[in-house]
């Protein structure tokens, strides 16, 4: 079975991660910034590190870049251990949060900087830099200083400056944080298409869950230095592993509950709800229910099949958002958020109206009641 062996090694080769993080911990004095994380980022993947500020996502990125060194653990880029290599010896480049463009150089010099430092001859460096400047659609701006550019243009220069070095992995630290909403959305599309065009892995740090969901192939959610969950946008949104992820990714109603058996849970007020779960009876859990998964209607209108997953309440507040109505419905022990599409024919429920809310059994999700909740 000699062929089997070579197949195996081929598979091994194809399976080399762009970035492989194994048991990496980073301490700053007494503070554990990154706590024993394991992470594999595939070649060509658009990967987001998502979490609130101080969760360790930027530290993780900086360790990949070589701007911080891990306290312990192994960090490999395309199979090569890089744990203690300085940044200039790594095949990665970074787009910094504030862009960090050299203020004393014009756009062309900024973009060709990396090539020049590697000893690429001036003319050829300028040619390559010009191509990259064109790719980010800044042609004609070569002679401008960074201070003469808008935020969006500076962002593109930072991108070009990193990409011109043909990094194997591009690291982006909150690259869109300083841009206004419209520009940010444009840049999201542009980054995404640029990544597809180049086929290089992008590792992207953000605290904006919407940005992470829109752009990434896979997302890692971090909190307090720990990696909580890695998965696609759908996985994180539909099957969060705990309360924190459920709450941080998207908006949700978290209802405290106790497991009765593997089919049923009891909500805080004693209402029994059908919710399949893997936890033993008596476990404290939270049921995550997305506002858009909930239907609202008159108490007598609850369809028969949704009876086991329905609650009665009173509309406390209604907000009109153009495309949707957002209701706050008080069920007797807590307020729940319900979002319905707003069409000219949809019925509105004014505050004070008694209503029933119900949902499809497949759209609730039980998470262990652990970790932080905001």
């Amino acid at each position: 079975m000699g062929e089997g062996l070579s197949d195996q090694s081929l598979a091994d080769y194809a399976g080399v991660s762009a970035v492989a993080i194994e048991g990496v911990t980073k301490r700053f004095g007494d503070v554990v910034a990154v706590d024993n994380i394991n992470l594999d980022i595939a070649d060509g993947e658009f990967f987001a590190l998502l979490g609130p500020s101080g969760c360790g996502k930027t530290t993780t990125l900086r360790m990949i870049a070589g701007l911080e060194f891990p306290t312990s653990g192994s960090l490999r880029i395309f199979g090569d251990e890089v744990g203690t290599l300085p940044p200039d010896k790594r095949p990665v480049n970074t787009v910094f949060q504030n862009y960090a463009l050299f203020p004393h150089m014009n756009v062309l010099d900024n973009v060709s900087f990396g090539l020049r430092m590697k000893g690429v001859e001036k003319k050829s460096a300028a040619t390559q830099a010009r191509e990259m400047i064109e790719l980010v659609r800044l042609d004609g701006m070569e002679k401008r200083k960074p201070s003469q550019l808008s935020g969006g243009q500076q962002q593109r220069v930072a991108l070009a400056r990193a990409l011109v070095n043909k990094p194997k992995v591009l690291l982006l630290d909150e690259p869109l944080g300083a841009l206004d909403l419209k520009l940010r959305q444009d840049m999201q599309h542009e980054l995404k298409s640029l990544q597809r065009e180049l086929g290089v892995s992008f590792v992207f740090v953000t605290h904006d869950q919407e940005e992470a969901l829109t752009m990434s192939d896979r997302i890692a959610v971090m909190h307090d230095g720990k990696l909580l969950q890695v998965g696609t946008a759908e996985e994180l949104y539909d099957q969060p592993v705990n309360r924190f992820v459920a709450d941080f990714v998207g908006q949700t109603n978290l209802i405290d509950a106790t497991v009765i058996d593997d089919e049923m849970i009891a909500l805080a007020n004693g209402t029994k709800i059908k919710a399949p779960n893997p936890y033993p009876g008596g476990t404290k859990v939270a049921m995550s229910l997305r506002p858009e998964s909930i239907s609202i209607g008159a108490p007598e209108d609850v369809p028969e099949e949704f009876r086991p997953t329905s609650l009665h309440g009173v509309v406390q507040e209604m907000n009109y958002l153009g495309h949707s109505h957002v209701y706050t419905v008080g069920v007797d022990w807590m307020p729940l958020e319900v979002r319905t599409n707003a069409t000219p024919t949809s019925i509105k429920y004014e505050p004070g109206t008694e209503v029933a809310i119900w949902w499809d059994r497949r759209s609730d999700w039980v998470v262990p009641d652990e970790g932080y909740s905001s």
Partner: protein, 301 residues
């Protein structure tokens, strides 16, 4: 009754360009009044004496050593071309340049070190830098004389390590040593300010883009800290060029420098026009240096 009603109407009249201009004029006048004491001081004790010096540089020395202000001429300036004076000029310039370069080399790494410490350590070390200013400059120069003397600590040290006696007192080496010691803080402070202000993410960006530590220093850190380097250099170069106390005390008057030469012209040789012309030239050199600094875009003196 009408007066009471009229008053607010008058205050609330609508704004006009004339009103705006008058307001602007008033603001400027207030600013001028605030600066008046400083202006008066400068005119009285700086511009007028300066004018007198420049005027005397065109005057004539009479046979009995007094100065005749009648008959303006360039005789005093012509004297600067004579080898004895131009030697002094060149030597002073050279010494000032050497002092500045040594200060630069010593101060840059130190300022860099300082700027990368925690704020508490930084402030403590800045106090150390300033401590010498708490005692008199003259006293400190005499202290160096003791240190560098034939049987002083410096000599004892070199003898102890078997390098023989050091006899650098009353040499140009001693003068440079004294000047560097005296003016180093003037190099450190603006340099530290410039480096401390630098955006450190630029250093990281440079390393990230593949530049080595040295390449980063050469292409990013140094250009960005240039305002501090230039400011410090000028603050050291200018007083070094005209230094009088240190060359007198540590140089032992063996090698004449500009400062001493000027003093001699005024007090001993009683040739005021020459003293004045040397002073004027010195001032011009310093002015040029300062202009060069401002042209280079620095603003922090």
């Amino acid at each position: 009754m009408t007066a009471v009603v009229d008053k607010p109407t008058e205050q609330a009249r609508s704004a006009t360009p004339e009103f705006e201009a008058a307001n602007e004029r008033q603001k400027r006048r207030r600013g001028f009044l605030l600066a008046l004491p400083a202006y008066a001081y400068l005119v009285l004790f700086f511009f007028i004496p300066l004018g007198i010096v420049v005027a005397y540089s065109f005057a004539t020395r009479t046979r009995n050593g007094s100065t005749s202000l009648s008959g303006w001429n360039l005789e005093a300036y012509r004297k600067l071309g004579e080898p004895i004076v131009s030697d002094i000029l060149v030597r002073s310039l050279l010494l000032a340049v050497i002092t500045t370069v040594i200060c630069l080399i010593v101060a840059y790494p130190f300022s860099y070190f300082l700027a990368t410490r925690s704020p508490a350590v930084r402030n403590l070390m800045l106090v150390f830098v300033m401590i010498p200013f708490w005692s008199n400059f003259l006293v400190r120069n005499y202290a160096w004389r003791v240190l560098l003397g034939n049987d002083g600590p410096a000599s004892q040290l070199t003898q102890a390590v078997g390098m023989g006696e050091t006899n650098i007192l009353f040499t140009q080496t001693a003068v440079v040593l004294g000047l560097v010691y005296g003016f180093l803080p003037f190099m450190i402070l603006p340099m530290y300010a410039a480096i401390e202000r630098m955006d450190w993410s630029l250093i990281e960006a440079s390393r990230d883009l593949g530049a080595s530590g040295f390449q980063t220093f050469r292409n990013v850190a140094l250009p960005l800290s240039m305002p501090g380097v230039i400011a410090g250099s000028i603050l050291v170069f200018i007083p070094s060029l005209g230094a009088y106390v240190t060359p007198e005390i540590l140089g032992g008057g063996k090698t004449t420098l500009l400062g001493s030469y000027i003093v001699v012209q005024f007090l001993t040789a009683r040739n005021w026009p020459v003293g004045a012309s040397v002073s004027t030239v010195l001032m011009l050199v310093m002015l040029l240096a300062a202009l060069a600094y401002f042209r280079a875009g620095g603003r922090t003196l």
